[in-house]
């Protein structure tokens, strides 16, 4: 067959149709089977939901989307768009050149040396959370650990009171999930209300900084207050917007990664014992669990006509790609559907790639490494509570709402 004879699929081609909806929580339990099926049939599929959009489940095409940001714009990373959201999240929902300016402001705050300097404090936070779990037979791992850890670390980095962790977590839940089990309108209303409260809280913290900047050390808030966009000061709105993104991206994702890992370890004691028995394995275990449960499924706007994976796309189309699906692509990973804590190599895409690579990845890795290590030192045995199975939700950030564990027992 010559190049001229290869015909690209188009949006109405019956071979590539599906009705996948990442916001349908009832599919959470079978999501990887759904991804496998789509990837093997049509790695670039067309879904009928939300007005029609492209759905990408393969590793190579995911990489191509990240590399080709001139065609796949980050103008809107939520699909469908968030009701009431009038401006982009900075810098996530911007393209170069603006993206580069905002990104440069944030990157020094999340640099590897700066994150390493936080390790002692993260250690202390973990010790305190684990001490609170001591002596209990039953705990909800989400409430006891996976939720407060990233929230407290976020507050520490910002230089804000640790005591605000519960309130912050409640807001993030509201923003991400709305009010589960209610009507679509009520969910949207709760999301908007929580977002407004979060902005108000950030504004209060910023006002505090502005009034007496000398009282505060060199934390992220202080740095952002002094930040500039090219030659002008940042507006308050820009700062609030960046804080909002850092919060959303840093709390829910780490909570999900920790919870999904522990859920797996509870169900696979032989894997858990590898960690207990050989702490040297932890670094590669973190990478493997990141590959195994990559939470995020970002969206893009197609802004130029293009062909991706043999499929013709038009400017104006919308697209979603699922990192969890890319990370289990058998064309890239041998035994992709098996957890191998010593997997080598493991070039997974849990943190994305290209110019939007997760800015918090260096921090997330430290949080996971210390959590894996300290949790298993103190609690080498745990199991799921047979009477209360974990509650998992889908959406563009896959997550875990409750994870009841029984400590000191193993299956």
């Amino acid at each position: 067959m010559t190049i001229n004879e290869v015909r690209a699929h188009t949006a109405d081609d019956p071979d590539i149709q599906c009705d996948f909806d990442i916001h349908d929580h009832s599919q959470a339990g079978q999501i990887y089977e759904i991804y496998d099926d789509l990837r093997s049939r049509c790695p670039v599929a067309h879904s009928s939901k939300h007005g029609g959009y492209w759905l990408v489940t393969s590793y190579d095409e995911t990489k191509e989307i990240y590399r080709n940001h001139e065609v796949f714009s980050s103008g809107h990373t939520n699909l469908p768009r968030i009701p009431g959201q009038e401006s982009p999240m900075l810098p996530l929902e911007t393209d170069p050149p603006e993206h580069s300016v905002y990104r440069k402001l944030l990157t020094p705050l999340f640099s590897p040396p700066r994150m390493r300097a936080l390790e002692t404090e993260i250690d202390t936070i973990i010790d305190r959370l684990l001490a609170d779990m001591d002596g209990k037979r039953e705990v909800d791992f989400i409430e006891a650990f996976a939720k407060p850890l990233p929230a407290t670390v976020f507050l520490e980095m910002m230089g804000w009171p640790h005591d605000d962790a519960d309130m912050l977590c409640e807001l993030v839940d509201g923003i991400v999930l709305g009010s589960p089990g209610t009507t679509e309108e009520e969910v949207a209303e709760r999301k908007e209300e929580a977002a407004t409260l979060a902005y108000a809280y950030f504004a209060e913290m910023l006002d505090d900084r502005m009034e007496c900047p000398e009282r505060y050390p060199d934390d992220i808030t202080a740095q952002l207050v002094q930040g500039t966009f090219e030659d002008r000061d940042l507006t308050q709105f820009e700062i609030l917007n960046m804080l909002f993104l850092v919060m959303i991206a840093g709390l829910d994702t780490v909570q999900g990664a920790l919870a999904h890992s522990v859920m797996y370890f509870a169900e696979h004691p032989e894997t858990r014992r590898q960690i207990v028995g050989d702490p040297d394995i932890i670094e590669s275990a973190v990478e493997e669990m990141l590959r195994w449960e990559a939470a995020v499924a970002p969206a893009r706007d197609v802004v130029q006509d293009t062909v991706l994976g043999g499929v013709e796309m038009k400017a104006g189309d919308h697209l979603m790609f699922c990192l969890g699906a890319a990370n289990r692509d058998p064309a890239k990973f041998e035994n992709a559907d098996t957890v191998d804590l010593t997997r080598e190599p493991n070039p997974h895409l849990a943190f994305g790639a290209g110019i939007h690579r997760c800015i918090g990845s260096h921090l997330a890795r430290i949080e996971m490494r210390l959590a894996f290590s300290k949790l298993h030192e103190r609690f080498p045995d745990y199991r799921l509570d047979p009477d209360r199975p974990p509650q998992v939700h889908l959406s563009q950030i896959k997550g875990v709402e409750t994870l009841p564990l029984i400590l000191g027992e193993s299956i």
Binding site: K104, T107, S111, L349, A353, G354, H362
Partner: protein
């Protein structure tokens, strides 16, 4: 002409995942705020496995091992 192995990072592609200095800290270090890796030492024969691991673990395929001739090196 002598052949020399050269470990290199393409910084137009590297986005700072930091996998290279995680798997081969003796060959790479974080070199900027973004966490992009920089080559700090060329691999000895014993370190060639680590060098290959860095190449294979990079999600951006930014790390490469090039075989240069002595002449290439002089021109580089």
């Amino acid at each position: 002409m002598t052949e020399i192995t050269g470990l290199a990072i393409d910084h137009t592609v590297c986005s700072g995942h930091g996998r290279c200095y995680a798997v081969a800290p003796e060959l790479f270090e974080p070199g900027d705020d973004e966490g992009r890796g920089h080559v700090v030492a060329q691999p000895t024969v014993d370190q060639m496995d680590d060098a290959h691991r860095a190449v294979q673990n990079c999600p951006e395929q930014a790390v490469s091992i090039q075989t240069l001739t002595a002449d290439d090196k002089e021109n580089a």
